[in-house]
């Protein structure tokens, strides 16, 4: 029987594996490890890489916390008092080059003393410049993984990501989406150990995808125009995370560890009033494709 300690242990191994893979692909940056304890129980380790060759600011965080369930969760779930345990790995990588995408990955497991439990997670990609070939590669890799576990997963979780990573006040998606899932429980179709395997595979897929993109795109040329656009897109990333991201809002609302939650902030961002990319520019191409319900597997520019 797989218990919460085994899940936390495997998640922490995924954190280590990812940090090693990213350091190797970056070639210069090293993760600084920041261990912390939570007063009410548990703790975590937030690994931060700054000023690498390719990665400008990257965070790979592990946590395993427990204690009395925060009232906000109990209210939301309409449950009586219970203890909880939560463990997860969260990643946001901000690359130096505007030709590289921002990436986010999260896997998490939650359980309560009343028997309630679920898995959640996802990966989504936020290119500063959308490259249809990369988008196809990315979504194909996610689909291949999903298809190995359940025929409905990719379609369902791709839709979920489109809906979740949406900047409502801009009416645009954060990037080209990916997969997102929450409250997954075992059922007759999907035993617990297979579900856990799926979640772990999401974690292990992340460094394959991102190191592929690092090797492919990090050396592409760019200039001032691309850096300005990157800074503006980073501003939109900030807007999504601080205004709409349920995890961020929940963390800040329930007295979570601020520095770990906000490791997702870009190293730098900029805002211009009413910025509109020039017609037919490559910036406009990206802007016009920050939309839900695009099929990146078959997309033709």
């Amino acid at each position: 029987m797989i218990g919460k300690d085994k899940i936390a242990e495997d998640f922490q191994a995924i954190q280590r594996h990812i940090c090693d893979a990213l350091e190797q692909a970056d070639g210069k940056g090293k993760f600084v490890k920041d261990s912390w304890k939570r007063e009410e129980g548990g703790g975590g380790m937030t690994n931060i890489l700054m000023d690498g060759n390719i990665i400008a600011k990257g965070g790979v965080a592990f946590s395993a916390v427990h204690g009395p369930t925060p009232d906000k969760i109990l209210q939301k779930l309409q449950l009586d008092k219970a203890d909880f345990f939560a463990t997860g790995v969260s990643i946001v990588i901000h690359p130096d080059s505007p030709m590289m995408p921002i990436i986010h990955m999260n896997i998490r497991y939650f359980e309560m003393s009343n028997g309630e439990y679920w898995f959640g997670g996802g990966i989504d990609l936020t290119p500063h410049y959308i490259d249809p070939q990369d988008a196809k590669y990315f979504h194909q890799a996610l689909k291949d993984l999903c298809d190995r576990f359940h025929p409905s997963y990719y379609t369902k979780f791709k839709q979920w990501a489109d809906d979740y990573f949406f900047i409502r006040h801009r009416q645009e998606t954060r990037g080209i989406g990916g997969i997102f899932f929450d409250r997954l429980k075992a059922d007759s179709d999907m035993p617990f150990d297979k579900l856990f395997e799926f979640v772990k595979e999401v974690g292990y897929l992340f460094p394959k995808i991102y190191t592929y993109l690092m090797n492919k795109n990090a050396a592409l040329p760019y200039g001032t125009q691309e850096k300005v656009w990157q800074a503006i897109r980073r501003g939109r990333y900030v807007e999504f995370n601080l205004v709409w991201d349920a995890g961020t809002k929940f963390g800040l609302d329930t007295n979570g560890r601020t520095e770990s939650i906000l490791m997702s902030m870009p190293p730098q961002a900029q805002w211009e009033y009413n910025h509109v990319p020039a017609e037919k520019s490559k910036e406009a191409f990206t802007q016009n494709h920050l939309k839900k319900d695009l099929n990146w597997l078959t997309f033709e520019a």
Copy 2:
């Protein structure tokens, strides 16, 4: 009898007055005027100054909108359907120099077809580096104005600002506060026309305060260290506005005009993981004084 049209007219005159005063003090920057209409009724004019001598990015917005009251307001007020009218002037100025403070001012009037109405507003100052003399000057100017209208106003509205402009997840204030008030109605102490006069005086005080600080501080020397600290403080400004500012949240939630709401964003901001100023540095002095309940009128460093 002062009606809503007169209030909107006087508010718009305050916008013009402020833009003139800021342009004159800046000496280079000019406001670009962006008029907009609201589909459901009314509209506004958002004036933006970019890349001035002193002002890096400043917004002075006027709006007067009306129509069916958004459901979110009705729910909050536990009211049945009614039409509303709202007018206001909102300002955020991000200076180029880290030796100059960010400033925010807002005055607003809201009324509903059921007879409900109120005034709100305030001014608060966010120095990148707290200067106790400037803080005293700023709070004294607010107190002098408040005292001319009501003996309890300054104490009450200063406390309200401390509580409102608070970055809860950082346990720090946004800056040195100022005054904040909301839901002010006429009563036996304060007739409607006097209340309206008070609100307008807040508007007219703003350019006196800020042009004084522009003349005094804009030419102070600084270097890279100060620019980095400014960018980090601007990041905190973003965090407050996107996570906690009720006006911003409400606007983005109710399909308000995004560009006008987010004119408060700084031209540029930066985030470092777990940034802590060096002990006894002037950055640490500022960080240590981002606290509620400091009496800036009598403060001694």
